[in-house]
């Protein structure tokens, strides 16, 4: 379990997961960090290696470019000869109102939040099923559990990722490959910098990372993190549509 690929490695949640995995694996861990900004990737890699003695390689890529993703994953795969754990964590939280008025914007973020996830998972699945082992952890969101007017451009993409994961899990189970869907609630990261963070629902990236690592190690299917979101989403998904469509959520 020591060859670890992190796609969207500069995300706050991904950084926290990387540190916790490195602490588990210590100096045997080998990281491949994929993201857009090489300096930031390097600073994360240096942090991991100086703290824990592990190794890290940066791979610069813009995940908008779907057609390049297979080659990207091949390059990552070849770096250390395979991938044991892959975390997919990049994401773009768009302005819903902008998406409603601008199809190009909707399609751009849908591409990043849904299709690029699928392309990465598709490429990993082909390789992992051959070697009959591996873990794919994809970050969805509680926003993907039910469409709401305030954020369905983002939510529907996250929902699509969750359903894709379900199918893939079903396909890869017999091949010994584990697929984990992660559904975080509100997390205090740069993505949510503009939000008011008072109130009890906000979690830190460290707390979310802890449950992601636990989910990877204990081969969970889907996790809500923090766990209380399972209860909240059970209530929300069970409100009849008749009523739900009238609500302002």
């Amino acid at each position: 379990m020591n060859k670890i690929l992190i796609v969207g490695a500069t995300s706050a949640i991904a950084q926290a997961v990387a540190r916790q995995l490195a602490e588990l694996e210590k100096d045997t861990a080998q990281f491949i960090l994929v993201g857009r900004n090489v300096d930031r990737l390097e600073s994360i890699g240096t942090d991991l290696s100086e703290r824990f003695g592990c190794v890290a390689t940066s791979v610069v890529a813009n995940l908008d470019a779907l057609d390049d993703i297979d080659a990207l994953i091949q390059r990552c795969w070849d770096t250390y000869g395979g991938v044991d754990i892959a975390l997919i964590a990049h994401g773009d939280l768009p302005d819903q109102a902008k998406c409603e008025n601008d199809w190009a914007e909707f399609s751009r973020v849908y591409n990043v939040n849904a299709l690029s996830y699928m392309a990465v998972m598709h490429a990993l699945a082909l390789r992992m099923e051959k070697v009959r082992q591996g873990t794919i952890a994809a970050i969805g969101s509680v926003a993907g559990d039910r469409g709401r007017k305030s954020n369905y451009a983002y939510g529907s993409a996250k929902g699509a990722v969750a359903i894709f994961c379900q199918g893939l899990r079903n396909r890869l189970f017999s091949k010994g490959v584990h697929v984990l869907t992660v559904k975080p609630g509100f997390v205090d990261t740069p993505m949510t910098a503009a939000f008011d963070k008072s109130g009890p629902l906000w979690a830190t990236p460290d707390v979310v990372a802890k449950s992601i690592v636990k989910g990877i190690v204990s081969k969970k299917n889907t996790i809500y993190t923090p766990g209380f979101w399972w209860l909240i989403m059970t209530v929300i998904t069970n409100i009849p549509e008749m009523i739900f469509k009238r609500l302002s959520l």
Partner: protein
């Protein structure tokens, strides 16, 4: 209601600018100031507060840039907490050269307050072990400051209360250890003179501190427990499971009163007297950070918050320092203003590079007081007078109330310091203590 410092005083409004990357410092020419860097808000009063201005939140700047396991030189982003550093340095056989009584502070905060620990008498302050740091000024310049480069800014920033700019990274010399255990002994003493004698007697021990019962008066005035320690040579133990508990809400104000504190102090003292004599081994955390196990313990003081008063007075040629401490303890004991934690320590003469650094050779006393408004403030003014008369100082990191006049007597060097302040940086503390002085 959001508060910004450990004492829950004062209330303030800020624009928050979280910093995520070392290349993401704000464009000072466009954002609205004044600015102040913020670590973990473990200062008690208004040193990390900038009412009406912007706070640069540094806690995500927590990456290690380099850690040389042979030489113990560590270079990290300035928001890295001491707890985080210990988590990977202790297993590698290195320890912080100086640490305050909580590990939930940032490197930047440790530099800006030039914090001290139980080893001040041998090791000096945190700033004595800083090899250098990157300082971002509001003109956009980032300067490496050390004893050899930009030395004036180096000296101004150590103990500079965040006023000289944003510290981005800190390079620190760690200290070698062989074990994660410390050898500790606790010795009860019956009064202040005995306590101070113990500091003399154990002057060669690396760590020393005393806890004082400041409710007991009369002949028991200044009774307490002296504790000294060394890093152990024994084999390390496996890291104990982290069993922190958190105080879930603000206690109502009646919970802390003369009687409950008296009872606490009585039990604590008796327990100390009955403890097993001789040297014991302790994991480093309970020895250095006894309060960190109880997260958010400041809530015990309730919504009104609390003050800490920490001063230092020089020994004096004829023990005037000890007499001054005795006078202060008498005033405090008579005031009946409950104080759980009173800590006594002797500072050594190792000079910090910091211009505005607090410690000086002498005796330091630190106590908590629940906030009883004017009565508490009046007591502090009396204590200030004693400190001023003895040529001592009060610690800004713990302060929310000293007058501008008192400040200028404690820190006459403030005028020398002032020229290094970044003109876009300021704090509530600084505005308060320099009001009317200029």
């Amino acid at each position: 209601m959001k508060t910004w410092s450990w004492g829950n005083i004062p209330v303030a409004e800020h624009r928050l600018l979280p910093l995520t990357w070392s290349d993401s410092a704000p464009d000072f020419s466009r954002a609205e100031g004044p600015f102040l860097a913020y670590g973990y808000g473990r200062s008690y009063g208004d040193v990390p507060v900038n009412d009406g201005g912007a706070l640069l939140q540094t806690s995500s700047l927590n990456r290690v840039l380099s850690f040389d396991r042979d030489s113990g030189v560590l270079h990290c982003e300035a928001g890295t907490s001491l707890q985080d550093i210990l988590s990977f340095c202790v297993p590698a056989g290195w320890f912080l050269p100086v640490t305050p009584g909580t590990q939930f502070v940032s490197l930047g905060g440790a530099v800006a307050n030039d914090v001290h620990g139980k080893n001040h008498h041998c090791a000096g302050t945190f700033g004595c072990h800083v090899l250098g740091f990157d300082l971002v000024r509001s003109n956009g310049e980032t300067m490496w400051c050390s004893l050899t480069e930009n030395k004036p800014l180096f000296a101004a920033t150590i103990g500079g209360l965040g006023l000289t700019g944003l510290i981005l990274t800190v390079k620190l010399q760690l200290k070698k250890i062989v074990s994660n255990l410390v050898d500790v002994e606790n010795i009860p003493f019956a009064n202040l003179a005995q306590g101070l004698d113990l500091f003399k007697q154990y002057n060669a021990s690396t760590y020393s501190v005393a806890w004082i019962d400041c409710i007991a008066g009369g002949s028991a005035l200044g009774r307490g427990i002296f504790s000294y320690g060394e890093h152990s040579e024994r084999r390390s133990i496996t890291t104990p499971a982290n069993r922190q508990v958190s105080v879930p809400f603000n206690f109502p104000s009646f919970a802390l009163n003369k009687y409950s504190v008296r009872a606490f102090n009585e039990v604590y003292y008796k327990k100390g007297c009955m403890g097993t004599p001789g040297i014991q081994q302790s994991y480093y955390e309970p020895f250095f950070y006894p309060l960190d196990k109880l997260l958010k313990w400041n809530r015990i003081y309730g919504k009104k918050g609390f003050y800490q008063y920490q001063c230092v007075v020089p020994f004096g040629d004829n023990d005037e320092g000890a007499a001054a401490i005795e006078k202060m303890l008498t005033l405090i004991s008579h005031s009946g203003n409950a104080s759980f934690l009173a800590v006594l320590k002797v500072f050594g003469d190792k000079q910090s590079p910091g211009i505005l650094s607090f410690p000086m050779k002498g005796i330091t006393l630190a106590l908590d007081f629940s906030n009883r408004g004017a009565r508490t403030l009046a007591l502090f003014s009396e204590l200030d007078k004693i400190v001023i008369n003895n040529g001592g100082r009060v610690y800004p990191a713990k302060d929310a109330r000293m007058s501008a006049d008192a400040f200028s007597r404690f820190f006459p060097q403030w005028q020398e310091f002032e020229q290094y302040i970044d003109d876009q940086f300021s704090s509530s503390f600084w505005r308060r203590v320099t009001e009317g002085l200029k």
